[in-house]
């Protein structure tokens, strides 16, 4: 029997739907506005004539951007940092998490503390900056003069992600591991054939965290990469924003689109990859636990 909603429940339902819809629209609005403004005409953008829908549609801001070498260059730099960075982070985190998940590891408590302490206490940005400067000199001494590699290797390792992986590996029943060892699997085989497939969903989650933090990385890339031609997309966007908020630069702009349109076009282009992988991230929000294997 379906019971009738009470009046208080009905009121709460109505409030929930209304406020959620308003909040969701507020969250999305800046992005929608960015898309509209990117393809609207100069006058419409500068005089706030667009609220949501584009007006005097032009695609020259996008064309200008697509024609620019700098844009594609920064895009490819971001791809470089994201791909190599994610692979490196994942490599370190999976191996470290696997080793830490083993009860037989000597000094296991110490190593765990070694990781967790970095979550309690971080040196701060100035000491970190000094440290990057110092390590980049060490890198140069080793013959690696490309700052990109320092950013790839040094950045984006979060202790939290390693601990996530460790906990997930710990959840694998030891019977499965023992069975694999009895069958003659080596340590690497146990990891690659048993643990990685069984912890797929955690690994996917961690991969996405790594990839997004790499794609979005700005501050340290800007500080560490001395060559302007190697800067990633986020730095490029920020530079353009700083450039066009300068009114003297604005006056030199010709063409029938506003400077804002160009920045909005850049923003739209930089979030497209995230929008593409976004549905896949969604899937891993509620991490499914891996059922199956040995039942006790």
């Amino acid at each position: 029997m379906k019971r009738k909603l009470e009046i208080s429940e009905l009121i709460f339902k109505v409030i929930s739907y209304t406020l959620l819809t308003v909040f969701a629209i507020c969250c999305l609005y800046p992005f929608l506005y960015a898309i509209s403004a990117a393809i609207s005409g100069k006058h419409a953008v500068e005089y706030n004539e667009i609220i949501l829908f584009p007006k005097d549609i032009q695609f020259e801001a996008f064309r200008e951007m697509f024609m620019s070498n700098e844009f594609w260059n920064s895009y490819s730099n971001t791809l470089f940092l994201t791909i190599y960075g994610t692979v490196w982070s994942l490599f370190v985190a999976i191996l470290g998490g696997y080793a830490l998940s083993k009860k037989r590891l000597l000094f296991r408590k110490f190593f765990n503390f070694f990781l967790v302490f970095t979550m309690w206490f971080s040196a701060g940005i100035v000491p970190q900056y000094l440290n990057y400067v110092a390590t980049s000199r060490v890198f140069e001494g080793m013959g690696i003069t490309d700052d990109k590699w320092l950013v790839v290797i040094a950045m984006g390792m979060a202790a939290m992600n390693i601990i996530l992986l460790r906990n997930s590996f710990e959840g694998v029943p030891s019977e499965i591991e023992e069975a694999a060892i009895v069958e003659g699997a080596s340590e690497m085989q146990v990891l690659s054939k048993v643990f990685i497939p069984m912890c797929k969903s955690t690994i996917a989650t961690v991969t996405l965290f790594f990839a997004i933090s790499r794609w979005n990385g700005y501050f340290w890339a800007r500080q560490m990469i001395s060559n302007d031609y190697e800067q990633p997309l986020q730095v490029f966007i920020r530079n353009k924003l700083e450039f066009y908020t300068d009114s003297e630069q604005l006056a030199t702009m010709t063409g029938n689109y506003a400077a804002d349109s160009l920045i909005f076009a850049l923003i739209v282009c930089s979030i497209i990859p995230i929008l593409i992988i976004y549905p896949f991230i969604q899937k891993y929000f509620a991490k499914g636990t891996n059922a199956g294997g040995v039942k006790e």
């Binding site: 019971r3 009046i7 709460f12 339902k13 739907y17 406020l19 959620l20 909040f23 969701a24 969250c27 999305l28 800046p30 992005f31 506005y33 706030n48 609220i51 370190v92 191996l95 470290g96 696997y98 080793a99 590891l105 000597l106 070694f114 990781l115 970095t118 979550m119 309690w120 206490f121 971080s122 040196a123 701060g124 940005i125 100035v126 000491p127 970190q128 000094l130 440290n131 110092a134 390590t135 290797i153 040094a154 390792m157 202790a159 390693i162 340590e187 997004i212 794609w215 979005n216 700005y218 986020q234 966007i237 924003l241 908020t245 009114s247 920045i263 930089s270 995230i274 976004y278 969604q282």
Partner: protein, 355 residues
């Protein structure tokens, strides 16, 4: 346990002499060869230890060595030499920052301003940013259609995955100042706010980010936009874990919506709320420097309310590295005490340790 002579020596009745206790011989042996045993275990299992090497190296070089650089706060303020070549100077950098006099006066003033801003930004973040995800989660629970709810969740989680540069660029574009020369109006949100009378026309025209009294509001509102939806996930998970029979029982007893909230939902998610609250308090002092820097870099007039400890030390790092390190050291030590304290309370209060 106290040691007895028989632990070490046993009287051999047949030969009539004392002999070493064989168990103790083994114990001595283990103790004497402890490090050899460690070495053998590591050698036997070397693959496992090799796997740890990259993690250890990365954390050692880029997490622990910066802590060594923090020692610069105790040393001579000399930006040319590296920390290891400097002389120990004592606590003068700390004293200068805390009770500045003479040459330190300006630094000290700015330091206290930054300290105050750091506390206030985190405190307001706690006050406004913390309850909103809980309320959102309660609302999400009311939406019974999966499709509608997923659609709403997709929209509200989205900003979390955008970079700080994108988020701050959007904020800056939407509330940018108008131009007097070309008579262009301010950004669309600034104009909207002035149209509905929340702010005056001149304030909007001059740019909200140039006005120190609006920085905190901008920071908090953009923070809610960025994280509230995503933060609601954990509360929503706690709410949907409540068994439907609890609601039914309450309804049969005649509980209206408020009574259900009060006596069914709240007790069930209280432990989650406590844990999240304690985590937030623990991380109070780690204000995201990136966002503050990006928002206020071009607007020096807003630094009065925008400058936090990390941006303060970032700005003075070129002229006085020692002071910059000292400021960060104090901020981070207090931050660590907060984290450890919060963790201890969490463990006592709910048997759940965060770390």
């Amino acid at each position: 346990m106290t040691a007895r002579a028989s632990d070490f020596l046993i009287y051999d009745k047949v030969a009539g002499v004392y002999r070493a206790n064989p168990e103790q011989v083994v114990r001595d042996d283990v103790e004497k060869h402890y490090w050899r045993h460690v070495g053998q275990t590591i050698l036997k299992d070397w693959r496992l230890y090799l796997m740890l090497v990259p993690t250890i190296l990365v954390f050692l070089f880029w997490r622990y060595l910066p802590m060594y650089e923090l020692l610069g706060s105790f040393k001579v303020d000399d930006t040319v030499k590296s920390v290891s070549e400097q002389y120990f100077k004592g606590f003068s950098n700390f004293k200068g920052l805390l009770a500045g006099s003479g040459t330190y006066a300006e630094y000290s003033m700015n330091f206290w301003r930054a300290m105050r801003n750091t506390f206030l930004l985190s405190f307001y973040g706690l006050l406004f940013g913390f309850p909103i995800p809980i309320i959102l989660a309660l609302f999400f629970n009311e939406v019974k259609s999966d499709l509608t709810r997923s659609a709403l969740q997709v929209c509200t989680y989205l900003p979390k995955f955008m970079s700080t540069v994108i988020m701050t660029s959007l904020v800056m574009m939407l509330i940018k100042q108008g131009s007097a020369a070309s008579e262009t109006p301010p950004g669309i949100i600034a104009q909207l706010l002035s149209n509905i009378g929340l702010i005056s026309k001149e304030t909007a025209q001059n740019g909200l980010l140039n006005n120190p009294s609006y920085f905190r509001a901008i920071y908090q509102i953009s923070g809610i936009w960025e994280t509230a939806g995503y933060d609601s996930i954990v509360f929503f998970a706690a709410i949907i874990a409540i068994s439907p029979t609890s609601y039914e029982a309450a309804q049969i007893d005649g509980a209206n919506k408020w009574a259900q909230m009060r006596y069914v939902v709240l007790p069930s998610i209280l432990s989650t709320i406590v844990i999240m609250l304690i985590t937030r308090i623990g991380h109070m002092l780690s204000i995201g420097y990136e966002k503050v820097l990006l928002l206020s870099e071009q607007h020096p007039s807003a630094w009065q309310t925008a400058e936090v400890i990390s941006t303060f030390s970032w700005r003075i790092k070129a002229t006085s590295q020692g002071l910059a390190s000292a400021a960060e050291m104090m901020n981070n030590v207090v931050g660590m005490l907060l984290v450890i304290g919060a963790n201890t309370i969490a463990r006592k209060a709910s048997d759940v340790s965060l770390y």
